[in-house]
Structure formats: structure tokens, C-alpha cells
């Protein structure tokens, strides 16, 4: 770590640079996807009778961009959990999608409890969101640490398949454990966030882009703002603090790090806490956005976030951000455009995410920003 000389230097390193990077990624992904969309419109000018694709794209572009960015940030936050753990332990934490689910359920529980007191409407919106997200972060982070302690730590050094299978087991167990808990306490699994009591959250904000007006959802804005704040904090934590340095050291070489006096187990727990809390925050924000969550909500976002992590280059924090934004943007565009192609339709969006994953893994397994690692013999 290079010592930081002045306040401007600090600001540049930990605020301007990461935010600028995010902006570049957003603009880049947006541009690429827009160009692709117009290319599609050029190839198929009229996919359905009386529907001119170019006009539709013109009308929907701003809305799709904003939805894509917010979706992309959710994926990026989950992808961070995969990538951090992969960086340190070199294994895919299959249970991370369920930590995301746990975060969304915690968000629901906290919000419903607040609603039951009857004072929720009076809370300051920012305070309310922060309160819910912080609870989700704390508990999900602790859950991730607990999982690591119980299910992964005893398996360190075992063949690679062993912790992977254990992670799959944890993931299944968590789904049903949350389900059983909800069955006992509430006797149903569809957990609807009480957002109906919050008019400021429910009503979209109309924003004008030239001639068209786009109704932007408040939750999209919350997700974007919260994600940017958290990602900046994360960047500072990993690159600017001593603990972050420890994590990086462990991810580079575990045994050498332990020789240098770094408590490896502590660093691994910390990594799980950070990754888990990001997953949990993403879960709570996602839950607020979609309104209703279930114990099964984690699987699809989890696998897409994993795709994002691989797309960016697994083990690479910046890559997770780029991958998440790119995937969110692509998915939002597909959702908007596939409607006009009757033979395909929106139902194949998920297939598309899987196909992207398979194609990347086959043709560029190191991802967009990853380095090629040669197999050690």
C-alpha cells in the first residue's frame, strides 16, 4: 500500500477513482447494449406487424438503462461475495445465493416489525432504508461467518469437490430452514414487504428525457445510491485499510500470509462477513424493489450474479462490478426487446443468462478482466 500523502490524493484514490470507474462501466455497458439494440432494430425493422422496433427502442431506452443499472448493481453486490470468497479460498461459495435470500427475508422481517409498531410512516426515508439494510447486512454477514465456521473450515485442504458439495448442502439446508421458520411463525412463504404503507416508496417519479417521460421507481434510485455508497466504502476497506491489506495478502498466498503473522482464519471469517453482508444488503434492496420474496428467491439472482462474477473475472473485485453492470444491462434490454419477437418472448431471458455463462466459461474462462492462470503441475 502506497502511503497517502494529502487529502486530495485520498479523495482521488478512494472516492473519485472508484466512482469514476463505475460511471465509465455504466456508460460503456449502456453504449454497447444500445448499439446492439439498434443493430437488432436494423436487422429486424418490423418484428411484428405495425411495430417499428426503432421507435420502441427510442421510447424505452432511458427506462431500460435505469432499470439495467439498478439490476446491475444488485448483481454486482452479490457477485462481490462470490468473488471475494473465491479470491481467498479458491472455491465457489454455492451458499451465497441463499445468504442473499436470507438478507431479503431479514429485510422483510425488520420492515414488518417496524410496520407493526405503527410508527414506520413517520420515519425519515433515508433512515428507514439504512436501518433495514444495516440489519440485513449484519445478520447475513454473521450467517456467512457461521457457515464458514461450521461447513467449510473443517474441510480446508480436502479435495476440491468436498467443500463444493458441502456448500451445495448448506444452500439446500438454508432454503428449507428459512421455509420451516416461516412455516412455524407465519404459516406461509410469500413474504410481502409492507411497502404499501409507504407512499413515497410506492409512487414512481416521472423524469423527462427529451420528449418521453419515464416513470422511475424510487427503489431503483435507492438501489443505485446505496450500492454506490457501499461499493466506495468497500473499495476503501479492501485497498485502504490494514484489514483489507490482510485479506489481499491471504488471497495472494495463504501460507506466506500466515508466516507474516496474519491470522488467516480471522481474515477468512472477515472476508465471509464482508461478502455475506453485501449479499444481505443486496437481498434487502432487491426485496424492497420486487415487493414479495420467498425462501426460493435466491437461486436465479445467485446464478446470475455468479455469471456476472465469472464474466468480469472471478477473484477480481472490479471485474465483479463490471460483470454485474454488463449483465444487468443486457438483461434489462432483453426484457424490453424480446417482447417484440413472438417466437422467443421474455421467458427465455434466464436461458440467455445461462448461455452467456456457458459461452464465457468455454471461450474465456478468465473473464473480461481476469488474468490467465496456468495450471500448476
Amino acid at each position: 500500500m502506497v502511503s497517502v500523502r494529502s487529502t486530495t490524493d485520498w479523495l482521488y484514490r478512494y472516492v473519485v477513482f472508484p466512482v469514476g470507474q463505475m460511471l465509465i462501466f455504466i456508460i460503456g455497458a449502456g453504449l454497447v447494449v444500445s448499439v446492439l439494440a439498434y443493430l437488432l432494430a436494423f436487422l429486424f425493422p418490423e418484428p411484428r406487424p405495425n411495430i417499428i422496433l426503432v421507435d420502441q427502442i427510442n421510447r424505452q431506452l432511458p427506462g431500460m438503462l435505469i432499470a439495467g443499472v439498478s439490476l446491475g448493481f444488485v448483481y454486482a453486490m452479490i457477485a462481490l461475495g462470490y468473488t471475494l470468497v473465491y479470491g481467498v479460498l479458491k472455491f465457489i461459495n454455492f451458499a451465497h445465493s441463499e445468504i442473499f435470500m436470507f438478507g431479503s427475508v431479514i429485510g422483510f422481517e425488520v420492515m414488518r416489525r417496524l410496520d407493526d409498531t405503527g410508527y414506520m410512516q413517520g420515519w425519515n426515508p433515508i433512515l428507514l432504508v439504512a436501518f433495514i439494510v444495516l440489519w440485513a447486512m449484519l445478520l447475513s454477514g454473521l450467517l456467512a461467518v457461521l457457515i464458514e465456521r461450521i461447513a467449510y473450515r473443517p474441510l480446508r485442504g480436502a479435495p476440491r469437490l468436498v467443500p463444493l458439495i458441502s456448500a451445495i448442502g448448506v444452500s439446500l439446508f438454508l432454503t428449507d430452514a428459512v421455509r420451516a421458520f416461516q412455516a412455524i411463525t407465519r404459516n406461509e412463504f410469500n413474504l410481502t414487504y409492507p411497502t404499501i404503507d409507504l407512499p413515497w416508496l410506492k409512487n414512481p417519479i416521472p423524469l423527462a428525457f427529451g420528449e418521453t417521460t419515464v416513470n422511475v421507481r424510487v427503489t431503483s434510485i435507492i438501489i443505485i445510491v446505496a450500492a454506490v455508497l457501499m461499493l466506495v466504502a468497500m473499495n476503501y476497506f479492501v485497498n485502504g485499510t490494514k484489514l483489507g491489506k490482510g485479506i489481499r495478502a491471504v488471497s495472494q498466498d495463504m501460507s506466506t500470509a500466515s508466516l507474516m503473522g496474519i491470522n488467516v482464519n480471522y481474515m477468512i471469517s472477515l472476508t465471509f462477513f464482508v461478502g455475506g453482508s453485501f449479499g444481505g444488503a443486496a437481498g434487502a434492496l432487491f426485496g424492497m424493489n420486487v415487493g414479495t420474496v420467498t425462501p426460493f428467491v435466491g437461486f436465479i439472482p445467485g446464478i446470475k450474479a455468479f455469471t456476472a462474477a465469472v464474466l468480469g473475472g472471478i477473484g477480481n473485485v472490479t471485474g465483479a462490478l463490471l460483470g454485474g453492470l454488463a449483465l444487468g444491462m443486457i438483461e434489462s434490454f432483453l426484457n424490453g426487446i424480446l417482447v417484440y419477437f413472438p417466437a422467443l418472448g421474455q421467458r427465455y431471458t434466464d436461458v440467455f443468462a445461462f448461455s452467456v455463462l456457458i459461452l464465457i466459461l468455454i471461450f474465456r474462462p478468465s473473464g473480461l478482466l481476469g488474468e490467465r492462470v496456468d495450471e500448476k503441475v
Binding site: L155, A158, S166, M254, P342, A343, F354, L361, E375
Partner: protein, 531 residues
């Protein structure tokens, strides 16, 4: 409040108690007689159970697994090979069919066990022999099932509209088509993923399985192939054999069982025989493969891919062969499954199913044929017998308005909470000792545990005694054990990986590998780099 040494002494004395018994069972004559007595005992129990009994689910749940697991006892016993074979044939073709005549649900269960045994053996080739973790294995099962279902279902699909339906008698031909089509599917999956290994392979195959499932859900428009999520029903069954019906009627009359459904029973029996034959065929093929140059090439790939290439193992061909073999087993089983269920829907081919099959392979012992069979039996019994009967039992208790008396509730709560507290205190003992040192008190581990636990336990006991009795009517309707198979699979996978990664019936070779890798891998030990 036992400390560890005393508990291990307990285990020792228990072992001493059983030692004469175990020694007696070394004698082949005694072992043979014991096995026959065991078989007759469970047969008598099962044939005497009546569905009217409110405790029927619980009793059947306890009595049926010992019968199904009997072949594994036989294999493990010290007996002459021919006698073993005779015993296994007797349980497969006499005792289980007889029990099935008393209650056809047992037939159903054994057929399911056979189906999952076939799947587990197939996955075992891919995961166990070749070491390629395949999480989308169920896709090939789906391919086989849909192949037969699309050609015979009575739903108006593209096949029916174009008059492509085939007669039910072509079932046996389609078993072979299932093998071929699924093997082609296996190669199609295998080709692009040749370069991937470990975690990446797992994710890609998972994606492949999901893609197949999503295709099955969505391939109902613009042209209807699969009828979407409603599934295909009315799938044809192979024509029943008249002599089987006659045989069943005769046996039932001679045993004094009321004949109510000889026709459907003979259908079940036919499926049972086909399933047993298919599984036997798969076992033979898997054994031959395992002991062949191909099997050794797979072992080499599993243990070190780079070294295997260097030794001249044709990697591409061997990997594709592993995928194709595993897939073809799933394909033939899929055709059987579609025909037996007479209904196929994407629900049956979810990721959970894949992981369930993986759990079977892992519970039994990854890489072994006996292990895969054992795992399939245990997990299927857990899933389809234990959990389901537990649900039925709760329903029964609900219907007769059963109540757990308050003293029993108190006892249960006390036992569970007390045990958890004991574990917590045991884990925190070093911390407690150091705390006591701060207060200038010197205690050893046992003393401090007693001091902390006893007051806590008294508080728990006082609170537990005040709990009301529990009425089964208050059991939450959503908390139905039959729907919590994921919980079971999850716990099984984690516990097996932590305590017995080589499985319950490990192959000697695999066991060696697992232990070796645990002791030699240079990495930071789990107790931290500090100590």
C-alpha cells in the same frame, strides 16, 4: 454432563457387549440362520400391519427399511457367494413381491428405489469414476422421459397432430432409443465443457440442466412439443402380461389376501421386474467398466488430469465416454420412469432432483457401485418413505385429535434445550475458565461446566414445566415433513462431507485417496496459522 473420556468409555463398554454377538456371526452357519430369521421376522411384521391402525405410517416407516437394506447385510456377511446370491434373489423375487401384494405402496417404493439406483449408478460413473461433478445430470433423465412421453402421451402435441404416436408395445424398443438419444445428449454436453473442471464444470452442467428444464417448460408454443408446465399425461405403459395377473391372483388366494386389484398389481409387478433387470444390467456394465482399461483411464483422469494426459490417456475420448455412459443410464431409466408414472412434467427434473441423486452417490460412497446402490436406497427411503410417512402420521394424529401431554412437552424441550446449552458451554469452556481466573477463582474444565450448566438447566426445567400440552391440530399446515426433502439432502451432504467424505460404504481405493489428500495437502490447517 459427561466429559469426553467417560463418554468414550461408554462407547467402549457398548462395543464389549456386542463383541460375543459379532464373533458368533463370523460363523457362516449362524450368520446364515440369523439372516433368514431376520428376513422372516420383518416379513411377518410387514404383512401383519393394517392400514386402519392410526400408528400405521410410523410402524411401516420403521419396518420397511430393514427389509430393503437386507441385501446389503447379506453382502457384508461372511457367507458362501452362492448362498448370498440365493438370499438376495429370495428377497427380491419372493419377499418383496409378497409384501407388495399386502400393500402395493411398497411395490411403488421399491420401483422408485430401483429408478434412483439406476440414476445414482449413472451419476457415479461421471462423478465417481471420472471425477466430473455434474449438477445437471437430471437433464438426461428428462431426455429419456420426454422421449417416450412425447411419442405416446394423449395430449394434443405436435406428435399427436402429425400422427406420430407409437403403440405401447414399442416400449422395449424405446428403452434402447432412450439409451442412444441420451448418450448423444451426453456427448453434446461433454464436447463444449471438455476444458472445464471442478467448480466451473459443476456450474456449467447446472446451467445445462436448468436450460433443458426451461426448454421443457416453454416448448409448448409456437409448436406444442412438451405441453409446458402442465406436462404430458396418459403416457403409455407396456402391455401387461396375462400370466403375471394369473400368478398374482393365485398367490393372493392361497395366502388369503383379499384380491382387489390384480390387474394394477400385475402392472406394478411388471415394472418391478423391468426395473430390477435394468438395474442389474447397469450394475454389470458399471462393474465391467470399472475393471477395464477404460475404468483405469477414468481413475487416472480423476486423480490427475495433467499426469493422465502425459501417460497417454486419450482425454477427450474418455471424458466424452464418461458423459455418454452416465447419460445413457439416465436415458433408459427416464423411459421407464415416464411409463411408470404415466405423467411427465418439468417439475420432476429440477435442480433438486440432480442434487438428490448426487446426495445418494455421496452418502453411499463416491466411486463405488455398492455405495451408489446403498446411497440410493437410503436417500430414497428417507425421502419417499420416512418423510412422507411422518407427514401421514401427523395427519393421522390430527384426525384422532392426539395431544402430547404437558410433561412430555416439558421433557422434550428440556432435552433439546439442555443439550444445546451443554454444547454451547462445552465450546465456551476455555473462555469461562479464563473469566474465572480474572475473578481469582481456579476451576478445572469439569467444575466450571457444572457451575455454569446446573443453574441454567434449573431455569430451563422450571420454564419447561410451565409449557402447555401440545395439540396436533396446532401443527402448522405448511410444516409438512414430506416437503422438506431439501433440508434432509442439505444436512446429509454437509454432515457426510465433514465426517465421512468417503461415504458410508466406501470403496477402499477412494477411502485411501480421501485420507491421503487430507493429510498431505500443504495448506493452512483449520486451527489457524497461529498455533
Amino acid at each position: 454432563m459427561t466429559t469426553q473420556p467417560t463418554s468414550s468409555e461408554n462407547g467402549f463398554s457398548l462395543g464389549a457387549l456386542f463383541r460375543p454377538l459379532r464373533q458368533a456371526l463370523q460363523n457362516p452357519v449362524i450368520a446364515g440362520i440369523a439372516l433368514i430369521v431376520y428376513l422372516i421376522f420383518w416379513y411377518l411384521i410387514l404383512s401383519s400391519l393394517s392400514r386402519q391402525d392410526p400408528l400405521f405410517p410410523l410402524k411401516s416407516m420403521l419396518a420397511f427399511p430393514p427389509l430393503v437394506l437386507f441385501p446389503f447385510l447379506v453382502i457384508g456377511a461372511k457367507l458362501d457367494g452362492r448362498f448370498k446370491a440365493l438370499l438376495i434373489l429370495a428377497v427380491l423375487f419372493i419377499v418383496i413381491p409378497l409384501v407388495g401384494m399386502y400393500d402395493s405402496s411398497y411395490f411403488e417404493l421399491v420401483i422408485q428405489i430401483c429408478i434412483f439406483s439406476g440414476l445414482a449408478l449413472g451419476l457415479n460413473i461421471v462423478v465417481g469414476f471420472a471425477g466430473l461433478l455434474d449438477l445437471g445430470y437430471v437433464a438426461f433423465f428428462a431426455v429419456g422421459a420426454y422421449l417416450w412421453a412425447m411419442y405416446t402421451s394423449n395430449v394434443d402435441t405436435w406428435f399427436k397432430i402429425n400422427d406420430l404416436l407409437v403403440p405401447a408395445s414399442s416400449f422395449y424398443l424405446f428403452l434402447f432409443f432412450g439409451i442412444i438419444v441420451a448418450a448423444i445428449g451426453g456427448i453434446t454436453l461433454g464436447l463444449p465443457v471438455l476444458r472445464l473442471r471442478g467448480d466451473y464444470l459443476a456450474i456449467v452442467t447446472l446451467g445445462f440442466g436448468e436450460v433443458i428444464r426451461i426448454l421443457a417448460v416453454n416448448a409448448n408454443s409456437p409448436t406444442n412439443f412438451t405441453n409446458g408446465s402442465q406436462g404430458l399425461d396418459g403416457v403409455a405403459r407396456p402391455p401387461s402380461l396375462p400370466f403375471l395377473t394369473e400368478l398374482i391372483t393365485r398367490v393372493e388366494t392361497s395366502l388369503g389376501i383379499p384380491i382387489n386389484n390384480a390387474q394394477s398389481l400385475s402392472q406394478q409387478a411388471l415394472f418391478y421386474i423391468i426395473a430390477i433387470l435394468i438395474v442389474a444390467l447397469i450394475i454389470v456394465i458399471a462393474r465391467r467398466l470399472d475393471n477395464s482399461p477404460i475404468g483405469r483411464a477414468w481413475t487416472a483422469i480423476r486423480e490427475d488430469e495433467v499426469a493422465a494426459i502425459a501417460m497417454g490417456v486419450p482425454l477427450v475420448r474418455m471424458k466424452l465416454l464418461a458423459f455418454a455412459m452416465g447419460a445413457s443410464f439416465a436415458g433408459i431409466i427416464g423411459v421407464l420412469y415416464a411409463s411408470k408414472q404415466s405423467f411427465v412434467s418439468p417439475e420432476s427434473f429440477s435442480l433438486n432432483q440432480s442434487i438428490g441423486i448426487l446426495a445418494m452417490v455421496i452418502v453411499g460412497g463416491i466411486g463405488g457401485i455398492r455405495g451408489a446402490l446403498f446411497g440410493a436406497c437410503v436417500v430414497t427411503l428417507l425421502n419417499l418413505q420416512v418423510l412422507k410417512n411422518f407427514s401421514l402420521q401427523i395427519n393421522n394424529w390430527k384426525n384422532i385429535d392426539a395431544v402430547i401431554p404437558s410433561w412430555l412437552v416439558a421433557l422434550l424441550v428440556f432435552a433439546v434445550v439442555g443439550y444445546v446449552l451443554f454444547l454451547v458451554v462445552r465450546a465456551l469452556t476455555p473462555l469461562l475458565i479464563s473469566l474465572a481466573r480474572r475473578l481469582n477463582q481456579n476451576f478445572n474444565a469439569q467444575q466450571i461446566r457444572v457451575i455454569v450448566l446446573v443453574p441454567l438447566l434449573i431455569v430451563v426445567a422450571i420454564n419447561a414445566l410451565q409449557l402447555p400440552s401440545f395439540r396436533f391440530d396446532d401443527w402448522p399446515t405448511q410444516l409438512e415433513p414430506a416437503k422438506y426433502e431439501r433440508l434432509v439432502f442439505g444436512v446429509l451432504l454437509v454432515v457426510m462431507m465433514i465426517f465421512r467424505p468417503s461415504g458410508l460404504l466406501p470403496e477402499p481405493r477412494r477411502k485411501m485417496e480421501m485420507q491421503e489428500s487430507k493429510s498431505t495437502q500443504a495448506s493452512v490447517p483449520a486451527n489457524g496459522g497461529k498455533e
